[in-house]
Structure formats: C-alpha cells, structure tokens
C-alpha cells in the first residue's frame, strides 16, 4: 500500500489528555506522562452509541406525545404538544414557523436516529460502502446536534418571560424534559461514535472493537 503508516502500525497511541504519543507495544494502560487512560479507539463505542440512541428513541415517544408547554390566557389554559404547535402554526398560515419547528423538533431527531443507525449497522458489518459519504454524514449529525435544543430554549425563554399572572402564563410541561433528554442522548450517542471505525480495514484489523478495549 502506498500510504504512510498508521499509528497502530507503529504501535503508537495518542493520549487524549496531554497529546503524548505513547508506545503501545507494551500495552500500557496509562499515559506515561499524565497517567490518563490510553485508548486506541473510543471505549465501547458501538455499544454506547447503540444504548444512548435507543434511550433517545425511548424518550422520543413521550417527548412527542406529552405536552411540552401550557399556555393559559385569561384563566383558560391549554396544553400543547410539539406536533399540535406545528399544526396550529400551519393552520394559522405561518407555514414558515411551522416548518422551522417541524424540522428542528421532529425531523432533526428523526434524521439523527436514521443516520446513526445507518452508521452503526454499516460499521458493525464492516461495510466498505461509501465510506467518505458516511464520514460526512457523521459530521453532519454532530453539527446539527445542538440545533435540536431550539425547542427547549424557546420553551425555557417563553416560560421565563410570559408571566403576567392572571392575564397570561406559559408553563413548561413534562414533554419538554423528555425532549431535552432526547437531544442530550442523541448528542451523547453521536459523541460515543468513533468515526474512525468507518475507516477500519477489515483485512488488517480483525477486531476493531476488541483492540479498542485497552
């Protein structure tokens, strides 16, 4: 192969903490310099990604079914879920806002689930298909991760601002907590995923996960 040697070929491993290139030929557990644990790959990357993603998926259901916000105007309160908010905006003609909420709150988590599942499945099957594109997909998932918090921030802001006692009050409801958890766990899931696994060569690396253990 006409390429520079990889770190694993040279039995080298970067310390995550201080950046020291450690010699792994002796299978050291810790960095020689700062005693931080040494990992060639992220620890239990696939398992954790799977676990966090499934957690997020579990929370995704109540996040969409439970009301996220209670708007009470002049004494008459009404709970609204994310989807009902989207529909309400849509019906009132504000299709742009409806679209933003829909994309940020429902589509983006959905895309993340699909993307992460795709990545996980292909990595586990050592699939060589479209590795560059999958790498791009992962970066995209990481980038859009924060934007899902839009809803949580809106509810937090509005609930803090709209406090006119009897005239009008907006209160957060349980749904927004689950929604926040969905975002947190999808981000954790994305963080647990090691994009280097995409490039793992099945021929010179028999057991990518097994090696990553230490």
């Amino acid at each position: 192969m006409n390429r520079p040697p990889t770190a694993s070929e040279l039995n080298l491993c970067l310390c995550h903490s201080c950046g020291q290139a450690c010699d792994t030929s002796a299978n050291p557990d810790e960095c020689e310099r700062c005693d931080a644990p040494l990992h060639r790959r992220k620890v239990h990357s696939l398992t954790r990604t799977w676990a966090y993603m499934l957690t997020a998926l579990a929370f995704y259901v109540p996040a969409n079914l439970l009301p996220v916000m209670n708007t009470s105007m002049l004494g008459s309160g009404a709970d609204s879920t994310i989807m009902s908010g989207v529909l309400e905006f849509w019906q009132h003609g504000a299709w742009d806002i409806a679209l933003i909420i829909f994309i940020a709150s429902i589509a983006v988590p959905g895309i993340k689930f699909v993307a992460l599942t795709l990545l996980l499945v292909t990595v586990q099957r050592n699939n060589q298909w479209a590795r560059k594109e999958r790498s791009k997909l992962f970066r995209f998932v990481e980038v859009i991760g924060y934007w899902s918090m839009l809803d949580v921030i809106v509810v937090a802001l509005v609930a803090a601002l709209v406090r006119f006692q009897a005239l009008g009050t907006i209160e957060p409801r349980l749904g927004i907590l689950f929604f926040g958890l969905v975002v947190v766990f999808t981000m954790l899931s994305a963080m647990s995923f090691d994009p280097r696994l995409i490039w793992e060569n099945p021929h010179n690396e028999e057991m990518p996960d097994g090696v990553a253990n230490h």
Partner: protein, 551 residues
C-alpha cells in the same frame, strides 16, 4: 498483564468479552431506565385515565376541544376533547374525558351545563367566565346506574352540590310570572327558590317544584299554604289605599310565599316532595278551605252579556262559588239559543250555616245522591238562579241563588247530571221586558196610516192656501182700498174748516143755548111750580128774568 500476553495466540477477545459484558450491562442501564420511565408514564396515564362521556348540547357556543374544562365546585374534573355535530345536525355532541377521581360523575342523573355569563332579573352569574371563557359545570348524581351519554342543561340547575333542604311540588292553574330561580319567601325572608316547572300530564295545570333550603324547610308543614307573591297587590278598602309586595325582586321575577294558617293543630314538618296547591294570593291561601265543590248547570234563556268565567256565585248575598263555563246551546224544541252556565259551589264556604244545616238535615256531605235530593227540595221551595247586574256601569253580571217562593213550579230531575237549577230572568231583564212591551205597543200604533192622512190634509191645506193667495187676497186688497177711500172722505168731512163742521158747531151752540133755557125753565118750575097753572108771577122772577109785567 501476564494473562493478556498469554491471550494473544488464543482466539482473541476472550477476556475482552468478559470485561465488555460487564461494561455493557452498565451502559445498557440507561436505555433500560428510559424504557422503564416510558412504561411508567404509560401505566400512570392509563391509571389516571377516567371515563369518557358524551354530552349533547343545543349549541357548541363556548365549547372548544382540548380547552374547555369541566368543573365541579370550581375544580377541574375533565376536559372537552372533541366537539362535533350530532348525526342529525340538530345538536352538538361534546366528548369529555373525565379524570380518574371524577368517575362518579358518570352516574345516570349527573347534570352538566355550560357556565356562561348570565344577567337576569334574579341576579348576575358566571361573571368570571367573561375572562376565562366558558366551562362546563357538573353536578354529581345519586343514581347507581352509570351512563356515558348525557344531555346538557340549557340553564344551570339552581340547586347543586347536594344542598340540604327539601323539594316540594306546587300545583296551580298557570305559571304566572314565576320562573326558575324565582324566590320562595317565608315571612318575607327568601328561604328557597323555584327549581323546575312542567305542565301536568293532561296539560290542565302546572306543577312547580320549589326547593326550600335547610334549616328553613322545617317551617313547611303539612298545613302550610303557598301563594303567589308576584307583583304588586293594590287594594282599596274602607281603610284607604294599601299596596303590598314581597320585594322588588319578586315584583320583577315573581315569587312564592308560604305560611301555615295561624291555627293549625297537629302540624308537623312536611315530608320531601309533598304536594301543595298554589293559591293566587295570601287571602285565598289562608282562607278556610273550600271543601268539596259541587258542579251545577244553569240554563238561561236570555243573553248574558257581562257574565264572565270566574264571576262570583252568591247565595243570599254570600259568595260561595264561581262561574266555570259559559256555553251557548241550541234548543231543538223552542228553536232558541239558551245559554248554559256551569258553576261550582263550595257549600263549606257558607260556614256555620252549612254545618248546622247538615246536622239538622242529617245529611252526609259525601252522599252525592242525598246532596242532589237536598238541592231538589230547595228548588221546590223556590230556589232559583238569577243573573244579576253587579255593576251598572260595567254591566258585570254575577249569579245569585235565591229563594223566590212565587216562582213558577219546575219539575226537578234528580237523576240528571250535572245537576241543573232552574233560572228566572234577572231584575234588569224584567225591566227590559217591560220596556220591550211598551215598545211593542208603540210599534202596533198605525203610524203609517196616520202619517198618510196627515200627508193628505197637508196637501189639501196647501191647495187651499194657493186658492187663497190667488183669489181671495186680491179682492181683500180692493176692499181695503175702498175702505181707505171711505175713510179719506170721512176725514175730509170732519176737517175743521169744512162747512159741515161749521154747521155742526152752530148747531151745537144752539143746542147748548137751548139746554140752558131748559135748565132755567126747570129751575123756575122748581121754585114756582104753581106757575104751571097760574103763569108766572111778576115778582117771582129776578128782575132780569121777570117777564114783562102782566098787564
């Protein structure tokens, strides 16, 4: 470390798998917890899920899906989840999800109504809904059977939340100015209200349900009388002008008052749902009871203008009944239109007279045939009905039952029902008859003939006058002219300078002289009567009158 080096040649990952299994279980706790949380939420919501009911309203005004609450004592017990038209488009069906603890509101007789601002004469309610929006009020029922379809009330029930008190039913002829919510007064203190009203099964009266709140419901006794205290009662009596009303509110929305008569022995609080009669006013309510009424039929052969249903029936001047019906009839034999008047009399109103009569005649008031026989004997003694004028100005009539011993005998049929009392014409009718007789006589006069004769005479007279004008008058005129001429000539004859006048004057002078001579002669003869025989003595006459001396 050593174990790891020995592991190298072995199938890889044996210890790694061990450690992985350990760490895997740690990581998988997170999704397990998440799923558990989700399941707990589902279980919780299933446990919290109350029954779902459908309420039918006339309109969907104020009902919004997922917004309108259902409240009991101002606590939210459910929410409207759906509002839609009924299949026949005549009503609105509101689907309501009740909370778990509100399950008892599915009792069959639970009530639901829309609370919205209401402003009426009786008061203002539901003002808070102006701001908060309408909500559905609920009241729990008592029934043991459950239902999931209810009919919403149009108006909030006046009595809710199992308030202590008693319901009573009042029976009356018409509702008057009463309405649901009209107050019920006891000694002018509002102690309850009208909660419902409905027509009788046969539509001949109104049943009014009133609710008297505890503890004042104890004052409703079995002898209690209810009367309509609506409006203003103005009475003019010997004491002057009296105006009575329960309260300003009862003037506007009507009201009912109740009181037990002052002397009510063996009185005890009435039981729930006790039924009473609702009297028109306090006076009739507290009057002694009428007792059993007796329906009688009267047949008048005259027009009864001024007799109205409700007109009093008097017996010897004492009111003891009223007119209940006036119907025109057709008599086939006489080919006339008599008037059938139905009256109801209450003999008990005659008071002591009635009781004494009953004891003396040993008559049982419940013996119907005996009562009829009694009436028959009265009729034999001359009992007659008469329509009399009670008010000459308005011409109002009343029925008087009186004894007319001179009245024509009438055959009384004791088996006829309704019992019929013979009638005689009233005073005014008698007068009218006499007047009619006079008019008839006048009618019989041969006025036409008289008029014809008179007309002929007048024609003759006219002819005579024409003749008179044409013939007689001119000759009269001629005559008058002649007379005038005659008079003129007479006048000229008598003129002062006329010779006739002159002659006349002379003649008169002569005459006067002659008369003087005659007087002298008579005087002389009086003094010398002998001269008639002897002639005049010489000395006898005055010298001047002495005749020439006799020689």
């Amino acid at each position: 470390m050593a174990s790891q080096t020995t592991d190298k040649p072995l199938p890889p990952g044996q210890p790694a798998i061990k450690t992985r299994r350990f760490s895997v279980s740690l990581v998988w706790i997170v999704p397990i917890v998440a799923v558990l949380v989700g399941i707990s939420l589902v279980v919780h919501s299933i446990l919290q899920q109350g029954p779902s009911i459908t309420i039918t309203f006339k309109t969907g005004s104020g009902l919004t899906a997922n917004k309108t609450d259902v409240k009991y004592r101002n606590v939210v017990i459910g929410q409207v989840t759906d509002v839609e038209l009924s299949d026949d488009q005549k009503n609105v069906n509101a689907t309501i999800k009740l909370s778990k603890q509100a399950e008892s509101f599915t009792r069959e007789d639970s009530q639901f109504w829309v609370v919205r601002p209401r402003i009426g004469a009786g008061g203002v309610s539901g003002i808070d809904t102006l701001l908060s929006g309408d909500y559905i009020g609920a009241d729990i029922g008592q029934s043991d059977t459950r239902a999931n379809r209810f009919t919403g009330l149009e108006n909030p029930p006046p009595i809710t939340y199992g308030e202590p008190g008693k319901r009573f039913t009042l029976h009356t002829q018409d509702l008057g100015s009463l309405d649901i919510g009209s107050p019920v007064y006891y000694r002018k203190i509002p102690v309850g209200q009208v909660v419902a009203y409905a027509l009788d099964a046969d539509g001949k009266g109104v049943n009014i349900d009133v609710f008297v709140h505890a503890p004042n419901d104890a004052y409703v006794t079995e002898n209690t009388r209810f009367w309509n205290a609506s409006g203003i009662d103005v009475s003019v009596g010997a004491n002057g002008f009296a105006l009575k009303t329960e309260s300003l509110s009862s003037m506007l929305v009507g009201g009912i008052a109740f009181l037990a008569p002052p002397y009510s022995p063996d009185d005890k609080p009435a039981s729930e749902e006790h039924s009473y009669e609702l009297f028109a006013d306090q006076q009739t309510a507290l009057a002694p009871p009428n007792g059993k009424g007796q329906y009688l039929n009267l047949r008048f052969d005259q027009a009864l203008r001024g007799l109205t249903v409700g007109a009093p029936v008097e017996f010897l001047g004492i009111e003891f009944g009223k007119v209940v019906s006036i119907n025109l009839d057709f008599d086939e034999k006489k080919r006339s239109f008599p008037v059938n008047v139905g009256i109801v009399i209450y003999p008990q109103r005659l008071g002591e007279a009635n009781t004494k009569m009953l004891t003396v005649l040993k008559h049982d008031p419940n013996d119907e045939a005996g009562g009829v026989r009694l009436i028959g004997s009265f009729i034999e003694h001359g009992l007659r009905a008469q329509a009399r004028s009670g008010n000459l100005l308005t011409g109002q009539l009343y029925i008087a039952l009186d004894f007319f011993p001179k009245a024509d005998k009438v055959v009384f049929d004791p088996n006829a029902r309704p019992v019929s009392i013979p009638t005689i014409p009233g005073n005014l009718e008698q007068l009218q008859e006499k007047l009619e007789g006079i008019v008839n006589k006048i009618n019989q006069l041969p006025i036409e003939r008289i008029a014809g004769n008179l007309d002929g005479s007048l024609v003759e007279l006219r002819k005579g006058l024409g003749q008179f004008n044409a013939k007689t008058l001119p000759s009269v005129q001629n005559t008058l002219a002649d007379v005038s001429k005659t008079l003129q000539s007479a006048s000229s004859t008598l003129a002062e300078d006329s010779p006739q006048r002159e002659q006349l004057t002379q003649t008169l002078d002569e005459l006067s002289r002659m008369s003087r001579s005659l007087r002298e002669l008579s005087d002389y003869l009086a003094r010398h009567p002998e001269s008639l025989i002897r002639g005049r003595p010489d000395n006898a006459a005055p010298s001047d009158l002495q005749g020439p001396p006799r020689k």
